[in-house]
């Protein structure tokens, strides 16, 4: 009841779907409200002053009017805070951005803010825009999203017998929640063989900064292994494949 009719927030546009009569429905990942869907009336008319600002991947300062109960909020003003033009002008950058928005769309919930993931998304978009290596950024992003969503896999102990895993003697299972020792791993259904380097890299990505993560050397084989481990983990928690992944792979 006592809520003001309009409110202001900052968010990244993660999805945009055309609606009737030149309108647009945008999904934003906002700093204060988490995932938020809103309507932009007349956005697709060339005369619209909003549409350029509300392009997917833009970080925008927004003013919204609360919709009536059962209706979506309405965007009344939008101003770009940060656009990432260099990212969208390269196919690798654009697809990397698409991939991250799909992950955020999957893990984010409406009305449930997560400032860490918000900061992470902006930081990673900025990095891709600045030409940071895409695979590093995406793996770091996945690892940190898992961490800030409360799904960080165990990377030190066997999740079954709780003994410390020995170097070179470890398996990994998204279902079980992380690393397993070889004897416990047999019982598990879907188990990945995990190299020492992959384990070390994941541990490092968990505690390092993005800059530090990007300066790490990733051999193609290690990179592929990390991609498999992490996409398996995301798939388990989301209960579906990230659809942008197959497109990313096709371009590789």
């Amino acid at each position: 009841m006592g809520q003001p009719r309009s409110f202001r927030t900052e968010g990244v546009v993660i999805r945009s779907i055309p609606m009737m009569e030149a309108g647009l429905m945008v999904t934003l990942f906002t700093r204060e409200w988490g995932k938020l869907r809103a309507v932009v009336h007349g956005a697709r008319k060339p005369s619209s002053k909003l549409v350029g600002h509300l392009e997917v991947l833009n970080c925008v300062d927004l003013t919204l009017h609360r919709g009536r109960p059962g209706n979506l909020d309405i965007v009344s003003q939008a101003q770009i805070v940060e656009a990432f033009p260099a990212l969208r002008m390269r196919l690798e950058g654009a697809t990397g951005g698409m991939y991250m928005t799909e992950v955020v769309d999957g893990f984010g919930a409406e009305g449930s803010p997560n400032q860490e993931i918000y900061q992470l998304l902006v930081q990673c978009l900025r990095a891709l825009h600045g030409g940071a290596p895409r695979e590093h950024v995406l793996r770091y992003f996945e690892m940190q999203v898992l961490d800030h969503s409360g799904f960080m896999p165990e990377l030190h102990l066997c999740v079954d017998c709780r003994e410390a895993v020995q170097p070179g003697q470890h398996l990994y299972s998204p279902e079980a929640g992380g690393t397993l020792c070889p004897s416990c791993g047999i019982k598990g259904q879907q188990v990945y063989h995990m190299s020492v380097n992959a384990l070390k890299t994941l541990r490092y990505f968990r505690r390092s900064s993005l800059e530090e993560a990007c300066s790490l050397r990733l051999e193609p084989q290690l990179s592929r292994e990390l991609t498999n481990l992490l996409s398996g983990t995301l798939k388990f928690w989301l209960d579906r494949e990230i659809r942008s992944k197959s497109f990313l792979e096709r371009l590789a």
């Binding site: 392009e55 033009p85 654009a94 951005g97 698409m98 371009l251």
Partner: protein, 204 residues
Amino acid sequence: MTGWPVPSAAPSVARLIQELNKLPGIGSKSAQRLAYHIIKLPPDEAHLLAEAISVVKDRVIFCSRCQNLSDTDPCPICTDERRDATQVCVVEEPLDVLALERTHCYRGLYHVLHGVISPINGVGPEDLKLKELLTRLDGTSVQELIIATNPTLEGEATAMYIRRQVGQLPLKVTHLARGLPVGGDLEYADEVTLSRAFQGRQEL
């Protein structure tokens, strides 16, 4: 404005609302409004609408050359000998062909993709009429491919993807200029549009 029993609509009305609700961009409120609009139409008009829907489903086909919707194959544009067959303009949707035709400034042919690459919405390159484009370009007289996808993230990504796919072919690939809308105001333009307009500036 009284008398419409919204909460417990008659089954036939509820069914119409339900069907309309399945259309893209139509929420339950809009579906209700449209349904009651249709109910209020004179019987002739309502039947014309119903007939148009069923006829279009029976008759419309994809032109095997340009993939545009048509009642004939090939479509009238593809069979028009006055058109320049050395140019093909790639657009997202059939409506884009109509919009470009209204300008009367393009006399080449078209290719309709029927969408854009949009992984988040489950649309990959294989879901578009891209294979058809590549087959069509292979060994033809086409000299220029004009990519006219929308200047959105997904439209741009699709354009870049097509460019990469046709990279080997002896073709000139161009892209519609992006910039300020006619009648637009510099003050309200966003940074991306402005910087693109700047990059695409031309000598006067």
